[in-house]
């Protein structure tokens, strides 16, 4: 273990902004994709159902 304390961990030897700026945006991007993927599946099903009811009417 390299870190004497959590403060030291978050400071990243003075590179905190760069390291956490990278990881933060990385996690955020993946999280957004996961949300969009889950929503996309549901919305496709919904939309196709609607289309089908229109077509059969």
């Amino acid at each position: 273990m390299d870190w004497a304390s959590w403060d030291e961990f978050w400071a990243m030897g003075g590179y905190g902004l760069y390291v956490w700026g990278s990881y933060g945006v990385f996690m955020l991007a993946i999280l957004i994709e996961i949300i969009l993927l889950r929503r996309g599946q549901k919305e496709t099903l919904k939309r196709l159902k609607r289309l089908k009811t229109w077509e059969t009417q």
Partner: protein
Amino acid sequence: MSISWFKYSSPATFYGLAGTLAPWFAWSAGILAVIGLYIGFFVAPTDFQQGEAYRVIFIHVPAAWMSMFIYLVMAFWSAVGLAWNTRLSFMMARALAPTGAIFAFLSLWTGALWGKPMWGAWWVWDARLTSALILFFLYVGIMALWSAIDDRRRGDKAGALLILVGAINVPIIYFSVKWWNTLHQGASITPSGTSMDQIMLWGMLIMAIAAWLYTIAAALIRVRSIILESERQTEWVANILEHK
């Protein structure tokens, strides 16, 4: 051969298969990412040249590798689709592109935040960075082309052509640090070995495998929606819609 591979190239069969497989890939990606991040932050030592800033490597390199690799896989499916007119191949290319674009963006973003403290600049127009930026633009251009063409088959073919032409950029990215004098450092891993510390290398490889599994999961989930859309006139999709 008892397994009929052609069976799985039918969208109807693949729809179910993708739904079964996706959670397994997603969960193993998550578990490996936790292990990789633990190694990256708590096991791997401080770099003697770059201090703690080097820890960006555990996401930067996997993102950059995936952005190139996903592109090559898309090029492969495009070639297969154009040669044999297999619908599922084009669908796979469509399913992979968004994740490839995200990784291309993340490789640029994490690279900028690593470059600033190490080189003193967020961005330089060297061969590696410029060709990586072009890769990101290619992804965006391909997706824009697809959404601009309403006719699915025409969109598939136009997209596949653009993907194949753009594939020339991938070896340019890969070899750019060799061919030109770049500010970007050379490859840490080459066929003849590695210049990295063992534990750092392990952290990076585990993160790369996690990114791979994540990509497969994302593509499988996305291809299911694409299959439903393009097969919506068929009976089996009608069945699914009724029972959901």
